[in-house]
């Protein structure tokens, strides 16, 4: 099969293979072991297929590749339009990378309704990939909302004590935000006659959309609200700690690893892509919110007694970096933001897996229940340290590259924001190392912890790829930046034009 | 000629009696009779207007209303009998199971 042929259908394959797997699972008999193996095979197959995307990606090009554009519905004018560029390429790879790891980490921990669990997981994977690959706004919204249901079910059925509260909160919060985006999409359709992203973007840029100047700010805010809830941007973040704590491990990993990136991806693709002038206009308060998120998230994380909540708040902090980088409108800032997205997905995904491993043994996330674990579980402790250091931004690991670029970009745009955000390197060290010390160092404080077993085979295969990826991304970020940089440059073009216009006045 | 307004007043009065009875009375059968009263009041006003405008449309409409009234009485009385058989009462306040 020639790669040219494959090129037009590869995105469809990658997006819908998990869904097909999910449907097949529905007719599977209830033999848990076979179900798990099948889910693993499907997710690994998706990952391998998705590797085709970066391998045959043309690094210098900044427009969409592997495009497929077929008319789907005639009225309203919806196309089946998919494509990836440097920005979405690695997000798709992140999704397909994390899903097999989620299957592995759930191998031993899910015992009831195994079939339903993996069906939901696979459907979720399809929806997630679809969000990143759709170039038609209707399709995008469809996939966007489609991620909510499997996630809510995963939390609500397979979660912990307050699972129903957390699931409902997650669902309602996100959906209400998304409704405003729907309104904006419909307005755009009414005034441009198309749902297609490229078409709308070009029409806005050339000023061909009637009534746009008056509505622009509202459209920006409509999209912004949906994404801000998802990111989560302060003060729309309170659904995240509850959702994370109550979710099963695989749910948390995908939630933190990928779902949150949907929000930041949306900000980058739609808010910046469609509304560059409004983005520039609104940047000050958005950057302020991001900055508050960075510091506030870190400080609140520091004092959490629950390990998963701590990691959840650390996500708020990290994604504050991403938003800061995006709205700095600098090459470094956007490159860094993209990199933090990927790095955070891997390292926080790893952290949640590690927390889940502990929960498997002791059924609690409370830090006070642990202490001195480095003695009974040395391999676990070392792996945990590696992932913690990646999250804290140690050079030669992935977190550093992203953080450095974001801060550099933010500093170039608004120095005060850059300086304040840079204090984040102190806070992240504080909350992570303090947590690490309380959990692993010192004498074993609870006698029951003495008999805890170290990492099992499945757990190793789930977590070690994350650590390895963190190292690889830290040592050779060029491999990722090569595709991201041109796309970011293209995304920043309207901002140079806007600046030119403003400056020339 | 009898002025139109007399007819309309009478019609309105009949209709008003019907509404009052419908809202106030507790016996289902009485409520039904009030409904009939309302319908007849409307019939009267239709006929009056038909005569006033010299149009047959109003009179035709009266036939429609009568037919509907008859059908509705038949079905309604059947329902009343069914309700009476199960709930043993004709007091409409006691037929309130469909509440939140």
């Amino acid at each position: 099969m020639s790669t040219a042929n494959l090129s037009s259908i590869i995105l469809t394959l990658v997006t819908f293979l998990p869904l097909a797997g999910g449907f097949l699972l529905m007719v599977f008999p209830r033999r848990d072991r076979d179900i798990r193996i099948f889910a693993l095979v499907i997710s690994l197959l998706t990952f391998v297929l998705s590797l085709h995307l970066p391998v045959y990606f043309h690094r210098g090009q900044s427009d969409f590749q592997y495009e497929i554009d077929r008319p789907w519905v005639s009225t309203p004018n919806i196309h089946y339009h998919m494509g990836v560029d440097g920005i979405s390429l690695w997000l798709v790879a992140l999704t397909t990378f994390l899903t097999p790891l989620c299957v592995l980490i759930s191998w031993k921990s899910i015992h009831e309704r195994v079939k339903e669990f993996f069906i939901l997981l696979l459907i979720l994977e399809t929806a997630l990939i679809g969000v990143f690959t759709s170039l038609d706004l209707f399709l995008f919204y469809f996939f966007w909302e489609a991620t909510l249901i499997p996630m809510a079910l995963l939390i609500g059925i397979f979660g912990h004590e307050r699972k129903v509260y957390a699931a409902v909160k997650f669902f309602m919060y996100t959906m209400i935000g998304s409704v405003f985006m729907l309104a904006a999409i419909l307005w755009l359709y009414a005034h441009t006659g198309s749902f297609d992203f490229v078409v709308i973007r070009d029409q806005i840029a050339s000023g061909a959309v009637s009534g746009f100047p008056a509505a622009a700010q509202w459209l920006f805010l409509g999209f912004f609200l949906a994404f801000a809830v998802k990111v989560p941007l302060f003060p729309f973040h309170t659904w995240l700690p509850d959702a994370h704590v109550e979710a099963p491990t695989a749910g948390s990993v995908l939630l933190a690893g990928v779902l949150l990136k949907m929000g930041t991806y949306g900000l980058l693709r739609f808010n910046l892509g469609l509304f560059p002038e409004q983005s520039r206009h609104n940047a000050p308060w958005v950057m302020t919110l991001a900055l508050i998120g960075i510091i506030y998230g870190a400080l609140v994380a520091m004092v959490q007694p629950n390990m998963k909540k701590l990691i959840a708040y650390s996500s708020v902090s990290h994604l504050g970096f991403v938003v800061l980088g995006i709205f700095s409108f600098t090459q470094a800032g956007l490159n860094g933001a993209m990199f933090v997205m990927l790095a955070h997905g891997i390292s926080t995904g790893g952290l949640f897996m590690l927390a889940g491993i502990l929960h498997e043994r002791r059924h609690t996330y409370e830090i006070s229940e642990f202490g001195g674990l480095a003695s009974p579980m040395p391999v676990y402790a070392t792996t945990y340290l590696a992932v913690v250091l990646a999250s804290a931004g140690l050079p030669l690991l992935n977190g550093f590259i992203g953080e450095f670029l974001v801060l550099s970009g933010a500093f170039q745009a608004r120095p005060v924001f850059g300086i304040l955000a840079a204090t984040g390197v102190i806070w992240s060290a504080v909350y992570l190392l303090w947590m690490y010390q309380r959990v692993f160092y010192g004498k074993v404080t609870q006698a029951v912890n003495n008999s805890l077993s170290d990492l099992s085979g499945f757990e190793k295969w789930a977590v070690w790829p994350c650590a390895a990826a963190a190292l690889a991304m830290g040592v050779a970020p060029i491999l990722w930046l090569a595709a991201i940089d041109p796309a970011v440059q293209a995304a920043l073009m309207p901002f140079l034009r806007v600046a030119g216009r403003v400056g020339g006045q | 000629m009898v002025p139109l307004s007399y007819y309309l007043l009478l019609s309105g009065f009949l209709f008003g009696c019907g509404v009052a009875g419908f809202l106030i009375k507790r016996n289902i059968i009485t409520i039904f009779m009030s409904i009939e009263l309302m319908l007849n009041g409307v019939n009267l006003s239709f006929v009056a207007f038909a005569a006033h405008w010299h149009s047959l449309a109003g009179q035709v409409f009266v036939f429609f209303v009568m037919v509907v009234a008859a059908a509705e009485s038949a079905v309604g009385l059947a329902i009343i009998i069914a309700v009476y058989r199960t709930r043993e009462t004709l007091n409409v306040d006691q037929v309130n199971l469909l509440k939140l």
Partner: protein
Amino acid sequence: MNPMLNLWLIPILPLAGAAINGFFGKRSSRRAVTTIALLLSGAAFAMALWVTMRFSSLSVPYHENLAHWIRSGSFTVDFAFYLDQLSLVMLLVVSGVGFLIHIYSVGYMWDDPGYYRFFSYLNLFMFFMLTLVLADNYLVMFIGWEGVGLASYLLIGFWFTKDSAAAAGKKAFIVNRIGDFGFLIALFLLIKHFGSLNFDQVFQRVMPLGAEKAGAGLLTAIGILLMVGACGKSAQIPLYIWLPDAMEGPTPVSALIHAATMVTAGVYMVSRSHVIFERAPMALTVVAIIGTLTAFFAATIGVVQTDIKKVLAYSTVSQLGYMFMACGVGAFSAGIFHLMTHAFFKGLLFLAAGSVIHAVGGEQDMRKMGGLRTKIPWTFWTMTAGTLAIAGIPGLAGFFSKDEILWRAYQASWVYWLVGLTTAFVTSFYMFRLWFMTFFGEYRGEAQDHSAHDAHGGHGHGGIHESPRVMVIPLVILAVLSVVGGYVGVPGSLGGNNRFDRFLGPVFHGSAPADTQQAPMGERGATEQENEGPEPKSGVSTELIFTAISVAAALLGLGLAWHLYYRNPHLPEKIAASMSGTYQTLLHKYYVDELYGALFVRPLINGSTRILWQGVDRKIIDAAVNDAGDGARNVSDEVRHMQSGNIRSYAGWVAAGSAVVIAFMIWMWTGAR
């Protein structure tokens, strides 16, 4: 054209050692672990020597570009290495002293169950430190910078089941990060204004700029921020608090990381950035003031400490202060010279202290030592060499380096000189105090006294015994270096030609801004230094006078220590009792840790818990969300009463509704007319 030196091997060899020992060490024998660790760190040192031998044939600076690291638009950073005279000196010190300490650790850590882990971490440290000194740009240097912080964290907390050790490791990392914050801002300024982090490129672009007169400006900001980073890494005021706590780690760690190499990274970084600092006089002043203040401050604390390692820790902070004082007055090569001699004698002192501790079975309190000089003679004589060196007794290494700093400091301001001199006196005092308390008088401890030596290897609880050869040999080598190591820097006033300073000349030579006063070429003789600092004010005889004064101060310190700790050992208690306020303050390290705890740590934790988490997050934001949900439910609760099941109420609503509709229709109809 330069031949390919393969400099990258120098850091990578220890990294390989760290990886091999890290992954396979647990299942390997001690011999195997030792072989890997010593072989690979020794190979790094051997390569350093080989590079040294080839050095004169190189065109310096030598660049080695390995691979691209980051590329974002026009901003690129490569994995690249850099060799000039300065990095050669640092390379030799780090790899040489590092290798010696590796050898020593074989003996010291032999009985520890975490033996393989120790050497894995130690090799990892070597990798990062060598990356730091060989880096070609600030970001690769930052890899090393943060990496040695990581190694330090792992090694301080090596005995992690001990809460105090784990806490000390965490404290070190976090305080270092505070310094790194400053460092990062400096890097961002460099990127924003000079477009690169590469040393050559940055310094080329900075060179044409003139000195910032007004005391404020871009280069001043960069300089001060770089100094903030150095304060963290090199334990200067106000970020020195982690170093004394770091003594929780095994003594070889204290010797290598917290004396000889890692803490000197700040001095190296400031010296490397001298082009920037020379154009920012205000920043240089800040550096000098911090260095001078720290030197004195830490020395005073060292006077009353009873833990032998803590004395040496505060001594390290103090000596680092000297190095920064030197840099601050523009005498960068003097600072590096002292860095080198300090690595020798402080490394020696720590290792010897480790030998002492090892001999008395783990006791670190000097009050429980005494009279050890006959029992552990090798340790005694090597430690004596180290003590003489640090005190600045003529003829040994410390004398030359410290003296040069004091002389150059005087030429900047007599205040620096006076404080430095006083500190020299205090240094001599507390070092000889240590010497007397440990080795002289009666033995006051609990370990049993065996006059016979134990054989190397089987010395678990055998009583007071000399350390095995594998520990003594590095002591001897370092002692020799402490004695002769200074002779490369004999100043002209004493008849030498300061080869060290000349060697570093090309690095620091001619980089000062054009409008700074320079000594004309003709005036430079064998007696003057290169034009890297303020113009020397007077001639040879003045310098000799000052040298004599410093020697007098050192001897005074020795005399006082002899009086208080040899002659009249009961006197110190009485003095402490009579000056109890001062004594307590010094003993509690000026209560700085308590101050920081009250000013920063506790408010931060309490504030985050009560205000941010429970206040804002729970009571305001989340409450709003939950209230919205409750509100929706309450509205539904009210509205549901409409579905009462009561037919008459339905009927009423129908009637009312239709009345409204009809009224509306009538109103519309009449309005339209």
